[in-house]
């Protein structure tokens, strides 16, 4: 491999990792608070892709982007209210099944409404401008993704660590019942979590699909699973962990594919999951939690 090729791969990997990181944040926040693997998150991400397709058909991108983010947030919150909130008192497995059900529903609904054929993702022209540095060539979005990811994460970290809302979120995530007793409006916090998660998914979706240019009803499934693994890898519940995990998976996936093991690139992600579960179930930067008896 020449150095140009390696640099090109690294660039691809980091860019993919950035998009993964943004999606992984949604998983990690929801898991931190509800202890729920939100299987529907990957489909929220996919739906955001479709929203963009339709939004860009009638309006320019500067209006479309905020609108798509808003609609995606709305979808995320509606899903929470309709499918998870009624099951707060139910066994955890019920909520998990419910989230799988929502995922199944969104996929089938998308197939029904938009057909299973891939829809071309609209081109946001400034993002697609191709830059040539030496013999490395990539579009702006490739460079922008990791940078934007880091900026968003810093904003989010500030929000979590230095605002009252963030404190409430941390409290709920640490001890759900006590936080409730302390008068924290749990439902409100959960809604906020879904708002943040969905917004990140929407931004991630724009970056991801701009790079990949097509959306199908199943576009979300595999990236979604990988991002959950990323969240576990970094330490579920931890935002920096999710970002770290996202980058690790994005880069390793790119290199595996590049080395001709594309068959195993997905498999590797899950192997990574099983390894981390064996050796460090709390993730790379997660905290140990002891169950109360």
């Amino acid at each position: 491999m020449t150095s140009t090729t390696i640099i090109q791969h690294i660039l691809t990997g980091i860019s993919l990792g950035g998009a993964y990181a943004l999606i992984a944040i949604g998983y990690t926040l929801v898991y931190g608070i509800l202890l729920l693997i939100n299987f529907a998150h990957s489909d929220i991400f996919m739906m955001a892709g479709y929203f963009m397709v339709f939004a860009m058909a009638v309006m320019p991108w500067p209006i479309a982007i905020p609108l798509v983010i808003a609609v995606t947030i709305f979808l995320g919150v509606v899903i929470e209210k309709a499918a998870y909130k009624p099951l707060r008192a139910a066994p955890r497995m019920s909520i998990m099944i419910s989230s799988i059900g929502v995922s199944y529903l969104l996929q089938n609904l998308a197939t029904y409404l938009f057909s299973a054929l891939p829809k071309g993702y609209p081109t946001i022209s400034p993002l697609k401008r191709v830059f040539q540095i030496g013999s490395v060539s990539a579009s702006l979005v490739t460079f922008l993704t990791p940078v934007l990811t880091l900026i968003l994460v810093f904003i989010l970290m500030y929000l979590i660590n230095h605002t009252k809302l963030g404190m409430a979120m941390r409290a709920v995530s640490k001890d759900y019942d006590t936080a409730k007793l302390m008068g924290i409006k749990i439902n409100q916090i959960i809604s906020v979590t879904f708002v943040i998660g969905s917004a990140m998914a929407a931004i991630g979706s724009i970056l991801y699909f701009t790079d990949r240019m097509s959306v199908t009803p199943f576009s979300g499934t595999l990236p979604g699973l990988k991002c959950f693994v990323a969240a576990v890898l970094g330490g579920i519940g931890s935002v920096p962990g999710a970002v770290l995990g996202g980058f690790i998976i994005g880069i390793s996936e790119t290199f595996l594919t590049a080395m001709g093991y594309s068959t195993y690139s997905d498999a590797f992600t899950f192997l990574l999951l099983i390894l981390i579960l064996i050796f460090r179930p709390t993730g790379l930067i997660g905290e140990t939690v002891t169950d109360k008896v």
Binding site: Q8, A116, P118, M213, T221, A258, T263, S265
Partner: protein
């Protein structure tokens, strides 16, 4: 001991079957012969499958009766969607069998055809594939025929074309788990190497993969003269665009599936220069039957706005032509058999000779059409344009 509730269910099932039979019995009151249409309308091959169905529907609208033993039968198309999925394919095929179709047309996509082949064979119903090009479809199955050429042929055609256009090195990109893509890729690879070319990169990707940057970066490093990337329509525009984005300038070539306007729509300017082999060219006026078909089909499309939009405009896809041919061949066989008996139709099919839109159709001992010519097309100015025909002895 819990299984006995199943009895109840079976009784219900039985009743449904009986009522179902009764219902179809009534409908069949006149002289009706049913032809099954076994195609994907959804799933990754939904687009191409639908175009093939359109060809069949058009054929049916043109000729919807057939004379069997002096009696005129109305031809009824029974359409099922195999969803481009092998599991679905089996049940979909089964449902055709229970609708008592006399012959089956389809399917787009070799995988589903292979899967359903066993069912057709078991029920002794002949099937005529329109565009399934994998050798496995008809091999070892006396009931499967097809009106198109095969992948070894297509692979050779493209290898020939590549050599003729001056390529010495090639990269092959195939989809894992896809009979069509990996089959065709392999045949191209063999043919290209036999003719003295060098394969400099061989890359694979997975179903539903949308990011090809990693494998394309490798290809860029290998710097081939041509990239051969047979795939589904879904994958094509992504691969084309990402390749161009990475600064790959080598021409990209593929097989028959790429002849679909959605590729041009989605890949835009990047699609320029893509070449592919296909079964048919609508601008080839040398064949009168074809010219007639093109005219009639376009009118048919205009009369059905929904079909028109799903077809992606007024272009006539090769698979539509093949669908048309498959239908006509079936009618020929039914006429020749002089019976609605499926086994007799099968025997008649083996001997059928028909001058179709995509050329003359006769079947060899495997049930494959004896075709020796393919059309090479290229995308230019946002349209598929005929480049040349290639014959392989």
């Amino acid at each position: 001991m819990k299984k006995f509730l199943a009895i109840l269910l079976i009784s219900v099932l039985m009743l449904s079957v009986l009522s179902g039979c009764a219902a179809t019995g009534n409908a069949a009151g006149g002289n009706v012969i049913k032809i099954g249409v076994f195609e994907p309308v959804t799933g990754e091959n939904g687009g191409g499958g639908f175009q093939e169905v359109l060809g069949m529907r058009y054929a049916n609208s043109k000729v919807n009766t057939v004379d069997i033993g002096g009696k005129t039968y109305t031809v009824e198309l029974v359409e099922v969607d195999n969803k481009s999925d092998k599991t679905e394919a089996v049940t979909a095929a089964q449902s055709l069998m229970s609708s008592k179709v006399s012959v089956v047309l389809g399917s787009y996509g070799s995988g589903v055809s292979i899967a359903a082949g066993e069912i057709f064979k078991e029920n002794k119903v002949a099937a005529i594939g329109a565009s399934c090009t994998n050798p496995q479809v008809t091999l070892g199955n006396d009931f499967y025929f097809r009106v198109c050429f095969l992948d070894p042929f297509q692979g050779t055609v493209m290898a020939n074309y590549a050599m003729e256009s001056g390529a010495k090195t090639a990269a092959v990109v195939t989809q894992l788990g896809d009979d069509y893509s990996s089959g065709l890729g392999n045949f191209f690879l063999k043919a290209f190497e036999e003719k003295g070319g060098t394969i400099v990169a061989q890359e694979q990707y997975q179903t539903n993969q949308t990011d090809f940057k990693a494998i394309l970066t490798n290809i860029k490093a290998a710097n081939p003269d041509i990239i051969f990337a047979p795939s589904s329509i879904a994958t094509a525009p992504l691969m084309i665009k990402q390749a161009r984005e990475l600064g790959i300038t080598a021409p990209i070539a593929a097989g028959d599936t790429w002849e679909n306007t959605s590729i041009i729509d989605n890949a835009g300017a990047d699609a320029e220069g893509v070449t592919l082999s296909t079964f048919f060219d609508e601008n080839d006026t040398s064949n009168v039957i074809a010219a007639d078909f093109v005219k009639g089909f376009k009118e048919y499309l205009k009369a059905n706005p929904d079909s028109l939009s799903k077809n992606g405009g007024e272009g006539v896809a090769a698979v539509s032509a093949l669908g048309y041919d498959a239908y006509m061949v079936a009618l020929e066989a039914i006429k020749a058999a002089g019976s609605t008996d499926t086994a007799k139709i099968r025997d008649a099919l083996a001997k059928v000779s028909y001058a179709g839109v995509t050329g003359a159709v006769t079947f060899d001992e495997n049930g494959d059409a004896n075709k020796d010519m393919a059309y090479i097309k290229t995308i230019k100015d946002g349209k598929f344009q005929f480049l040349k025909t290639v014959k392989v002895g």
